[in-house]
Symmetry: C2
Subunit: 382 residues, 2 copies
């Protein structure tokens, strides 16, 4: 539901088929897009009209589905995290490589316009190399309606896999990608939701840079205050509202009711207005909390409009161009890969490296020591 | 000059003598306070009217001067950092203990009203134990006028000793004091000022909590934006001004001119208006950047007014009482120790533990590994 508006309205994309185990989703898709919808993922892969597949399934299905799609020689955009284990990730990368298809990971907030603008600015040499990055995000992630598996770390639940993947992606993209070590702690402070709801991590990079990441999904402090009350999706937020996610959950009797609430918000659920989602051009960029990158010659602060460049003598805002459709950057990158043959920045190897950092956050917290990394890659492209 | 207004106007303190090697300072002190001023520190120590000495000398003199003051059985408030080496710090603690005098470290921003209010809130059990703390501060520290030694790490120069001491003190006070390990990086990005101007540190605590510290003194991004443009001293700041510290330095020909500029701002320098500094009751609290402490049941954010408590259902501001005189909290604590016999929270052992963390930040950055700590203490008192 978050991705469909951009996908449906992107000028270079045509939705030609879908697969969903839920009949109500298939019925609605065919009605909305006048296109076939399949109950089996394999049928989608074998549809000759399909060039690329956007895989928005739960984490634990990614590996097998990517293998199946690659076998059918379809390009794949897979939701983050790429997978839950490095072995799965490595096999996905290998399958895509062997099949000669693009494997790309997203949406990641590292694909937000301001992050890409900061990366371009760094690549230009104008501000020197990043040396010290700070990223923090305080959200209500843990109290949004969840399926049971999303609260089970062994199945890829918790904030490290789902939210750490964004934050790690952002600092890896700005910092050149090559994380050398991770020291971290995680917090699981609510026995009713027994997975990681918070973490803090200290990353060192191969070139000597470092990044500090802080994340809490416990729905208390809200760091959108640092983004002038623009929310994660680039929407305006009411600063006076507090604790809504917790309050909404508190009224539910059990996990089944919570899963049902989540299901009621998915595509095709009863009661949703029919038809294509309307195109609402974004007013602000997506954002993922406070990000400050101190480079050799300037500090960069990401905002919902672009990059604030704090130099020695002055500060200025470099606006990042807004995408034509929501999260348009990720669809642009997919089209550039599939239609123009230009390898994506966030390919499978990139996603595997980000997953390695997330796994190292969990391991460092568990074992109380610094973890060395071995699968890091620099971002492709300019 | 920063401390004199509070000292001169505190209701329980009388300035009865001073020592200063500079004749102009001695002349002014005697004129301002109708009291003796000495050229030699030993003479001050031997003055029978003196009960306690506030030691605002450069770091490298602290150890010998504390030893001399303790020998004369004077209580001592010493500016942070307590010392530059752990051996010096241990000897100072031992000298004070043997002499039966209070040795206290300050001013530290851990003595600011909002920090103390947060500590009381935590001690009350109302919000649970702190689990994850984040502190960040972006200032122009490195570009304020300096003497040469302040730019030499081996003499206690750079931001880790001078500014890290504040930030470490704050998270130690909130987190219970017992830091277990430190992983850090430091940055020295300006060859013209070849000492640490920035650092990032990840601290773990004995009870499993963690803290992320970020500091940059490079005068680019200014984190006072997160404190509604109230500055470090609790003063209102003009958000439109940027880069003033760098610009002021840029006009100076050499290090001697810079030292002279710094000297022109010290007590007794020519051109300063005579007489006692006027009492200006503070409008806001002192602050040391953004501090967020995630506790088991609430997130606490420090502001220049007090503590924002972000709970599950609501957020509220707990105002901290403003001191009657600037930095009154530190003078209150000194008086409580000297006049009422109540040991100070920030005693010598506390200051030594904070110094140990600062030294570990430097060592971790130098050696690229996590450093275990051995001299940590819990804060005294309630």
């Amino acid at each position: 539901m978050l991705m469909l508006p951009g996908l449906a309205h992107h000028p270079r994309i045509q939705l030609v088929a879908c697969a969903d185990p839920r009949p109500e989703a298939r019925i609605r898709f065919t009605a909305d897009f006048d296109a076939p919808s399949y109950a089996e993922f394999g049928e989608l892969c074998d549809d000759p009209n399909v060039e690329a597949i956007y895989l928005a399934t739960p984490h634990q299905f990614h590996a097998a589905q990517v293998a199946r799609a690659a076998e059918a020689r379809k390009h794949i955009l897979v939701e983050k995290p790429l997978a839950v284990t490095l072995a799965e990730a490595a096999s996905m990368v290998e399958r895509a490589r062997a099949a000669g298809v693009h494997l790309m990971v997203g949406h990641s907030h590292a694909q937000d316009g301001p992050v890409l603008a900061a990366r371009r600015l760094i690549a230009s040499g104008e501000v020197g190399a990043p040396r010290l990055m700070t990223a923090l995000n305080y959200t209500d992630f843990l109290y949004r309606p969840r399926r049971a598996e999303e609260l089970d770390t062994s199945q890829g639940g918790g904030v490290v896999f789902s939210q750490g993947a964004h934050q790690v992606d952002v600092v890896r993209l700005l910092g050149g990608g090559l994380v050398r070590s991770v020291r971290a702690m995680t917090g699981a402070w609510d026995p009713a939701r027994p997975t990681e709801g918070a973490y803090a991590a200290f990353l060192t990079f191969a070139d000597g840079a470092a990044a500090s990441l802080t994340y809490s999904g416990y729905g208390r402090f809200d760091s959108d205050v640092f983004l002038d009350w623009v929310g994660e999706m680039g929407q305006r937020k009411d600063p006076g509202r507090h604790g809504l996610a917790r309050a909404a959950l508190a009224g539910l009797p059990d996990a089944a009711a919570e899963a049902a609430l989540k299901a009621s918000r998915t595509y095709g659920a009863p009661g949703q207005p029919p038809g294509l989602p309307p195109l609402e051009p974004p007013e602000f960029h997506n954002q993922f909390g406070l990000v400050i990158a101190s480079c050799e010659q300037a500090d960069l602060r990401l905002t919902a409009q672009g990059v604030e460049v704090h130099g020695d003598a002055a500060r200025r805002l470099r606006k990042a161009p807004l995408p034509a459709v929501p999260r348009g950057e990720v669809w642009d990158a997919l089209c550039t890969a599939v239609l123009d043959g230009i390898p994506p920045l966030q390919d499978g190897a990139w996603g595997m490296a980000t997953l390695e950092v997330c796994l190292a956050i969990l391991q460092s917290a568990r074992e109380g020591r610094e973890i060395a990394l071995h699968h890091q890659v620099a971002p492709k492209g300019p």
